[in-house]
């Protein structure tokens, strides 16, 4: 697995960048349309889907969050499947009527890594979530992904999401970012 903190960075070709962009847009569409089982198929078996808590500390006291801290998500495939299972039970009352979400993916940068089959991808995810009568919630997250080419197809192997918010500004994080 490529270390996310490794330093750069041979930029990707236009062709590879285009392929990655299309992958991320497709993923965003699957999340918007709640096609979670197809979405799981875009992930590698060893996926690490991580959204740490963002500490608000003085600069002199800065610490980087670790996977051993509390995190919004710190999921392997088993845990992601659990979340999808919840939606499939038929008793997930808070998702019926369905949440409406739009994932806008931007600021995409693609870099080669030391592993010829893995690419480091930076992107910004801006998610508008609307639910019930009039509840709207905007979330903006900085993503650092590792995409891996498996049997010719791109798959998501690692994702770290850093949210702008300190206090999470809403009652639930019920959409993947």
């Amino acid at each position: 697995m490529t270390n996310l903190s490794e330093k750069p960075a041979v930029p990707a070709s236009m062709e590879l960048t285009f392929e990655v962009e299309q992958f991320l847009y497709k993923e965003a569409r699957l999340l918007d349309t709640e096609e979670f089982h197809i979405w799981l198929g875009l992930l590698t078996e060893d996926i690490h889907y991580w959204m740490p808590y963002r500490y608000q500390r003085y600069r002199k006291n800065h610490v980087e969050p670790t996977v051993n801290d509390q995190s919004y998500y710190n999921d392997n495939m088993h845990n992601l499947e659990r979340r999808v299972l919840r939606n499939d039970t038929g008793t997930c009352w808070s998702e019926d009527p369905a949440t409406r979400s739009s994932h806008v993916i931007s600021n995409i940068e693609v870099e080669h890594t030391d592993n010829p089959n893995e690419y480091r991808v930076y992107s910004l995810t801006t998610v508008n979530r609307n639910m019930n009568e009039d509840e709207e919630h905007l979330m903006v997250g900085h993503r650092t992904d590792i995409l891996r080419r498996v049997d010719g197809q791109l798959k998501l192997a690692k994702r770290k999401i850093i949210l702008d918010q300190n206090i999470f500004m809403n009652k639930s994080l019920n959409v993947f970012l």
Partner: protein
Amino acid sequence: MSNNTDYHQFIDNEEGWVDRRIFWEEEIYEQELKQIFAKSWQFIAHDSMIPNANDFYTTYMGEDGVIGARQKDGSVKVFLNSCPHRGNKFCFADEGNTRSFICNYHGWSFGIDGKLGALANEHVYDEGDIDKEKWSPKQARVDSYKGLIFATFDENAPTLDEWLGDFKWYMDMMFDNDGETEFINGGIKSYVNANWKFGVENFIGDAYHALWNHDSGLKAMNNGEGFGPAVTENSFHASVNGHGWEFGTDGYADVIINGSERWVEYVRDVLKPKIKDKYGELRSNIFGSLASVSLFPNISFLPGIQTFRVWLPRGPKKLELRIFTIVNKNMPEDLKQEVNNGCMMTFNPAGVLEMDDGENWEGNTAVNKGYLTRLEKLHYGCGITREIEHEELPGIIYKGQFNDANQRHFYTRWADLMNADSWDDVPTRYTPRHTKTTK
């Protein structure tokens, strides 16, 4: 609401109802800040969050911002996070380590003990202009129980020991089952547009909602299997001074919800035998069963799932939730992480159980916008005749964990404090067995 309002008018434990206006009215909320939050012992931090000298953590008591800070002698001080000069917060970080805090506005500095120290450009003051001892931020009374640091701004409040009373009998099986506890790094914060009491009362006694509302979350954590049928035998509500613990005695439901087989084995093979040795068979059966707990006024936790949280009021229609993961210090490090992951999978803003709770409480609150709606009462009559005497269990005990008893006693305590002009007016409504009380 005037000070002459009788707040017992908003609850009726004979008929079993609560008046919805206590979840909505600004005047009642203002009275809560004065009568509940300016008087009660409240949670500041766990010892493990501020282990070293000069460590600090910022939080709120009611809507009063405070700093909890570890002193060089190991004690903790808690003081208002507001500069006595023009009022600005003088600490804007959630936590950290510092020898002093300096207000951004004019550069007044405060020691880790909260005392006013040097002022920037101090020469603009003449001698005698300011008495720094007098113009230091207000200090709270601080005490702790088994690693939990509490504070109150009321000099006349009972001691923390009296405040907890016989509830310590229950707390020990969570906070002292195998040595010291610690919190995992974090403290995720979120807003819920709900009255703070809905969070507290859910954890204080609402096992009932779990069966229906959390069916999907439980199935997600338990390989597709939901809860069994509600068992009303050998399960209880226990209430002490407005604190409440609802629990079964079959041993494992809350441990299973955490989702880690290794944790289930550890509770079975390591913790339960120790609890049995230390506290007897009944408490070893209680720990890990389907259970939930709140400490009056705004602290909750789930033994077995290991979430610990505070519900900070943000007006009558909004709360700030802060969540922590509690583990035993001597657990293997990788097991701590497994328990933390399970706790996060279930009870954080993305948790498969917590996501359903916020929806309910926001709905409970928002409907009261309707004038006629908020004049309707809410039913709190489940199990109203099931009070029993139990030879082992202290507190006010009701049979059957599917019950509104702890909620009724929470709101009784709430009304007692809302009405009280002094602590002499606050009745002790249970018969202590293990604690000496002053009244």
